[in-house]
C-alpha cells in the first residue's frame, strides 16, 4: 500500500514523522479524493435534482453516480442506498423510521459491544415507545456469546443490531450467522459497518442483512457523508423522519405526499461534494483491491501484536490474537492518557478513553484504554516506531 497517496504523511509532528494509528476514529484522505472534491467545487458545482441548467445537470449526474459506486461496492441496488451524514445518522434513521413502527413490549436485541451510536438511539426510542432493549453478551475473548444471543432472541425481537467489527475490541462479529438466526425469529437485522467495511469485503446480498450503515470518513473519504443500505421495498412503506426539499412528491398546505426512497430520506440539499469525494475513495479502494488490503493489514496487525507482546505489562482488552484492525490495551501501572501524551510528543497518534463505547470498556474492568488502529497506509516501519515510542514513554513514566 502506498503512503505516498496520502499527502498528510508529508507533515511533521513536533519534528517527527507522523505515525498515524487512529484510523478507526477517522482515516486520512488520499490525493485522488481531495482532487475529486476540488474539481467539482471548481468546475461543475451546483445544487442537485433542481436546476434546469448545465452545472446542475452535471452535479446531479456525479451525485447519482456516487450512489451507483456505493451500491456496486457493497453488492446492492442503487435504490437501496440512502446518503446520510455518517453511520450515526444512518443508525438513527432506522431507529426513527422502522423503530417507530414498534409497539410497547417489542424487543430490540443489541450486543454489549455496540458503539454509543447503535445504543443511544434505541434507548431514546425505548423511553418514548416502551420497547425493551436487550444486550447479548460479549465473551472474555471479545467476541459474541452466540448462546447468550440465541437465548435472548425470541418472537418478541423485532430488530437485531450488531456491529460488524467492534471499535473497542477489534474483533469480527458473526454477522452472517446472526442475520440467519434473527430472520428465523422474524426480526430484521441492522449492522453497524463503520469499522467492518474498512477491513473486509462487504456484500450485503451475501450477508442477507436488512440494514447496513457506514461512514465515508473512515473509508478514506471525507467527513459529513456516509450511507445506509436499506431495502427500498421496506423503506417506501415507512414514514420519512425529516421533512424538506427533495423528499416530497406533492405539497399543499394541508398535506404532502412523499417521494420514493432514497429521495424520501434525503431531505434538503445533500452533501454533494462529499458524496463525490466518497465515491472516489471507494474507487481508490477497489483499485487497490480489498483482498490485497486485507492481506497487507494482516501483516501489519501481526507485527503490532508481536510488538505489544514484547512490552512488559501490556494488557489487551480481550484476546489479542482475534483482533483484526485494532488493539485496545493498557500498560500495567500506567495511565493511558500519560502514555498517549508522551506518544504524541513522538509523532504517534493513538486514541485514549472509552472509545464511545463505555459499557463494553467497563466490562473489561477498565475505565479507559489506549487504542492503536491501523489503516491501509500503515507499514512495518510505523509499527516499529510505535513500539519504540511506547518503550520510551514507559521509561519516562516509571
Amino acid at each position: 500500500m502506498n503512503k505516498k497517496d496520502f499527502p498528510i504523511f508529508n507533515e511533521k509532528i513536533y519534528g517527527n514523522p507522523l505515525i498515524f494509528l487512529d484510523s478507526a476514529a477517522s482515516a486520512q484522505k488520499p490525493d485522488v479524493v481531495l482532487n475529486a472534491m476540488e474539481k467539482i467545487a471548481r468546475t461543475y458545482y451546483a445544487n442537485v435534482h433542481r436546476g434546469a441548467y448545465y452545472l446542475s445537470e452535471m452535479s446531479t449526474i456525479a451525485y447519482e453516480d456516487a450512489r451507483k459506486t456505493v451500491a456496486h461496492f457493497i453488492g446492492a441496488r442503487e435504490k437501496d442506498i440512502i446518503f446520510v451524514r455518517g453511520a450515526t445518522e444512518g443508525l438513527n434513521l432506522i431507529a426513527q423510521t422502522y423503530g417507530r413502527t414498534l409497539k410497547e413490549g417489542d424487543e430490540v436485541l443489541l450486543t454489549e459491544a455496540e458503539h454509543h451510536s447503535n445504543l443511544v438511539p434505541w434507548q431514546l426510542l425505548a423511553s418514548e415507545k416502551g420497547i425493551i432493549v436487550k444486550f447479548a453478551e460479549v465473551t472474555e475473548e471479545g467476541t459474541l456469546n452466540i448462546d447468550d444471543f440465541k437465548s435472548k432472541l425470541s418472537d418478541k425481537t423485532k430488530l437485531v443490531g450488531i456491529t460488524h467489527i467492534s471499535n473497542v475490541l477489534g474483533t469480527l462479529f458473526p454477522i452472517k450467522e446472526v442475520t440467519r438466526l434473527a430472520h428465523e425469529a422474524g426480526a430484521l437485522v441492522l449492522i453497524d459497518g463503520c469499522q467492518g467495511i474498512v477491513h473486509e469485503k462487504v456484500d450485503v446480498s451475501e450477508i442477507g442483512c436488512d440494514f447496513y450503515a457506514a461512514s465515508g470518513h473512515k473509508l478514506y473519504g471525507p467527513t459529513g457523508i456516509g450511507f445506509l443500505y436499506a431495502k427500498a421495498e421496506l423503506m417506501n412503506t415507512l414514514q420519512p423522519w425529516q421533512g424538506g426539499g427533495d423528499m416530497v412528491k406533492t405539497v399543499t398546505f394541508e398535506k404532502s405526499t412523499f417521494a420514493e426512497t432514497p429521495a424520501r430520506f434525503e431531505a434538503g440539499t445533500p452533501a454533494i461534494i462529499e458524496a463525490i469525494g466518497f465515491a472516489e475513495a471507494l474507487r481508490y479502494l477497489e483499485k487497490a483491491d480489498i483482498e490485497e488490503i486485507e492481506k497487507h493489514e494482516e501483516k501489519i496487525m501481526n507485527a503490532l501484536k508481536d510488538g505489544l507482546w514484547s512490552i512488559k505489562g501490556v494488557k489487551p482488552l480481550g484476546d489479542m490474537s482475534l483482533k483484526k484492525s485494532l488493539v485496545s490495551f493498557n500498560i500495567e501501572g500506567l495511565h493511558p492518557q500519560d502514555v498517549a501524551m508522551l506518544l504524541d510528543k513522538q509523532g504517534v497518534a493513538v486514541r485514549v478513553g472509552h472509545h464511545c463505547a463505555e459499557p463494553v470498556t467497563e466490562k473489561y474492568g477498565v475505565s479507559s484504554s489506549i487504542r492503536a488502529s491501523i489503516g491501509l497506509y500503515n507499514d512495518l516501519e510505523d509499527i516499529a516506531a510505535f513500539i519504540k515510542a511506547l518503550e520510551k514513554s514507559k521509561a519516562i513514566l516509571v
Binding site: 513536533y14 495511565h335 493511558p336 492518557q337 500519560d338 498517549a340 501524551m341 508522551l342 510528543k345 485514549v352 478513553g353 472509552h354 475505565s367 479507559s368 520510551k392 519516562i396 513514566l397
Partner: protein
C-alpha cells in the same frame, strides 16, 4: 513554588523529555488530595482521565487543591495551582494562563479539543472566581 520559579526552571530544559520528566516531578510534589474529597461534586469532566478540584476561601483569598489519576495531568495541575492558588479574585482575574503555558511550551495542552479534564479545570476555576 511560584509560577515564576516554574517558568524559570522550565527555561533551562531543552528537550521535551526533560520537560515532561519535570512536569511529572511537579505533579508528585502536589500536596495530597484527601480521598474524602474525591466526590462527584469535585470531579471535573474529562474524557481521558479523572480530575478532582476543591477550594477553600480565606477572606478574599482562594486556595485550590486538585488531583488527577494521570501523572502528566497532575503536573499540569501543579502549574495551574501555582498560577491561581493563594490569590485574591483580583489577582486571579489577571492571570493569563494561556500566556504562561505558551512560555512553558505546553500551550497545546490548553486546547479545548484535548478534553483531558485539564482544560475543564481552568474553566472551573474561572467559574468559581467569577
Amino acid at each position: 513554588m511560584t509560577i515564576e520559579e516554574i517558568i524559570e526552571n522550565f527555561s533551562y530544559l531543552d528537550d521535551w523529555e526533560d520537560k515532561y520528566r519535570y512536569l511529572i516531578e511537579l505533579g508528585e510534589g502536589l500536596s495530597p488530595f484527601p480521598d474524602a474529597l474525591k466526590v462527584d461534586a469535585n470531579k471535573v469532566d474529562g474524557c481521558m482521565s479523572q480530575v478532582w478540584l476543591s477550594f477553600s476561601k480565606e477572606g478574599n483569598v482562594y486556595h485550590f487543591m486538585a488531583d488527577s489519576d494521570a501523572l502528566i495531568v497532575k503536573g499540569l495541575i501543579a502549574i495551574i495551582l501555582a498560577a491561581y492558588s493563594g490569590k485574591t479574585i483580583q489577582e486571579i482575574q489577571h492571570v493569563n494562563i494561556e500566556e504562561i503555558f505558551k512560555k512553558l511550551g505546553l500551550d497545546m495542552n490548553l486546547s479545548p479539543t484535548r478534553r483531558n479534564g485539564f482544560f475543564a479545570m481552568v474553566e472551573k476555576i474561572k467559574s468559581i472566581t467569577l
